[in-house]
């Protein structure tokens, strides 16, 4: 056994704030601390930094600064996009989304259902893809909004957003994509995607927690979520978090610069997937080809995810699981269930999410460490023996 290392492989959960981002933010705490809405020079300098940050975010997304609105997080952006779109829907009362969205979208839709809106949750295929024809079949003249995430947080599946947006627009509905997991990992240009609304979050790309943004395409009118002063061109009340907006802008610049390095991350991911699939009775969740470069989600039969995570953590590896036992709801991941993974197998799924910070040695360490952990838990599992025999039997047939 090699020496114990610390390997953070949970970048889809959150990322550390990078040194460069921190340095960009610091002056906002110490010098440029004014309120951007103030009339005096102290306010003006803060306003100036805020607008520079907005212009920078717009450059990173190849859109106009007028289309960028800062929010407090990805969930706020998601809620604003959905609720805001319905407020200006000219009486349309139908939302279409998918069964594998983030809870920020699913729960916002569920609460709108309770308020009398109609919601269709589209099925996805075994790899997590939304098929354009399922959208075509569900959409009608009452549909106000189509909300489909750009890339899934658990299994990394990247959706055909452009095609889906075309279908939404044919019926006069708005197209929203939750791009929280995609931005910084793959190229994301809202105009190219043809979306009306797009959400992103800072802490997934080395900016701090507590900052997000919503892209609202020029000419698209949505209602407010937070009423207040005249901030964000009267679209979002609340004194602007200048430091964090600056941090988000810098983090996004760096992420876009480093996009070519994502090919290296994807190679690491592929090595990790290949190595994990060498463990008997394991399966890849999601698509082999069309997935986020850092995402690896593998299920191990007959063991449970939380105990696997605990043993990984003891060995210095941070990952996450779709198991019910790690959540308060005691229900396994809705994403895994939606792609057809049975309950009993969903409990044993582990997600590793890699980033630029990870190395070949990290992947080697994960692979060395996890095999004995899986063996150890299987030796303790009352269902492993019969499962193993079945696997051997079918291999011999």
């Amino acid at each position: 056994m090699s020496e114990k290392r610390f390997v953070y492989a949970d970048h889809a959960a959150t990322t550390p704030v990078s040194q460069e981002v921190l340095e960009a933010m610091m002056p906002c705490f110490t010098e440029v601390w004014g309120n951007p809405s103030s009339q005096h020079s102290k306010g003006a300098e803060a306003k100036n930094l805020l607008e520079k940050a907005r212009a920078s975010v717009a450059r990173s997304l190849a859109c106009s600064p007028k289309e960028i609105f800062f929010t407090s997080c990805g969930s706020e952006s998601d809620n604003w996009a959905i609720r805001g779109a319905l407020k200006k829907a000219n009486g349309r009362k139908h939302i279409i989304t998918t069964k594998i969205e983030h809870h920020a979208v699913l729960h916002a839709c569920a609460s709108l259902e309770r308020e009398g809106y109609r919601v269709t949750y589209l099925d996805v295929d075994g790899e997590g893809f939304v098929h354009p024809e399922t959208l075509r079949a569900a959409i009608d003249d009452d549909t106000a909004l189509v909300a489909v995430m750009m890339a899934n947080n658990e299994i990394g599946t990247i959706q055909p957003i452009r095609e889906l947006a075309e279908i939404a627009h044919e019926k006069g509905a708005l197209m929203f994509t939750d791009a929280v997991q995609a931005v910084g990992s793959i190229p994301v240009y809202p105009e190219e995607l043809g979306v009306d609304l797009l959400s992103l979050s800072g802490h997934k790309l080395h900016a701090p927690k507590g900052i997000g943004a919503l892209y609202i395409r020029r000419g698209v009118s949505i209602g407010n979520l937070i009423d207040g002063g005249g901030q964000e061109r009267r679209r979002r009340g609340g004194t602007e978090n200048v430091a964090y907006a600056v941090g988000l802008a810098r983090a996004l610049e760096i992420a876009v610069e480093r996009l070519p390095d994502m090919e290296r991350v994807a190679r690491l991911r592929d090595r990790l997937i290949d190595g994990l699939l060498e463990i008997p009775a394991s399966r890849l969740n999601g698509s082999r080809m069309n997935r986020l470069p850092g995402n690896c989600n593998v299920g191990f039969e007959c063991i449970e995810g939380e105990s696997t995570l605990m043993l990984l953590d003891m060995a210095g590896i941070c990952a996450s699981t779709g198991s019910a036992c790690s959540s308060d709801s005691l229900e396994p991941s809705h994403v895994l269930l939606s792609i057809g993974v049975p309950h009993e197998k969903a409990h044993g799924s582990i997600r590793f999410s890699l980033s630029h910070d990870n190395t070949e040695d990290d992947v080697n360490y994960i692979l060395q460490t996890i095999s004995p952990i899986v063996e150890r838990l299987r030796a303790m599992s009352p269902i492993w023996d019969s499962q193993k025999n079945r696997a051997v039997d079918s291999a011999n047939m």
């Binding site: 449970e304 605990m310 019910a324 308060d328 303790m380 599992s381």
Partner: protein
């Protein structure tokens, strides 16, 4: 998940893991759909539990509660084993997060179900309740 040191100890170093080939009583509760299954094997001589082993598929708390339950009944009489409550298991582990208390219920039921198996094998009437009433998640009651 915040676990006590005792839970971590029993998870990392579980006591009495394994099977007993010629067990006098075997109990198995839970199901894979819910994410936990506990199996308990008893060796019984003159109404005393002389040996006990377990196998568990489940989370850290499920493994720790199984381990603790086997420790609590080892060397005890059957009557004493039947008085083991899930609360006693939780207390012996210095507490469990509320969402994990059902694991201790499963441990209590695994012990009862193993004793019931022993009773049945020996033609004794099972005069206690050992049915698993697992209502902690929506998975139960759902049929494939």
């Amino acid at each position: 998940m915040q676990y006590s040191e005792k839970v971590m100890d029993h998870f990392m170093n579980p006591r009495n893991v394994g099977e007993i080939a010629d067990a006098d009583g075997v109990g198995c509760v839970g199901n894979a759909k819910c994410g936990d299954i506990m199996q308990i094997f008893l060796k019984i001589e003159n109404d005393i539990i002389t040996d006990v082993k377990f196998k568990t598929f489940g989370c850290g708390a499920a493994i720790a509660t199984s381990s603790m339950a086997t420790e609590l009944i080892k060397g005890k009489s059957i009557e004493e084993a039947l008085t083991l409550t899930n609360k006693a298991v939780v207390e012996a582990l210095d507490g469990l997060p509320p969402v994990k208390v059902h694991c201790s219920v499963l441990a209590e039921e695994a012990v009862k179900s193993a004793v019931a198996d022993y009773y049945r094998k020996n033609g004794k009437e099972v005069d206690f309740d050992c049915e698993v009433s697992c209502d902690h998640c929506a998975s139960c009651g759902r049929n494939d």
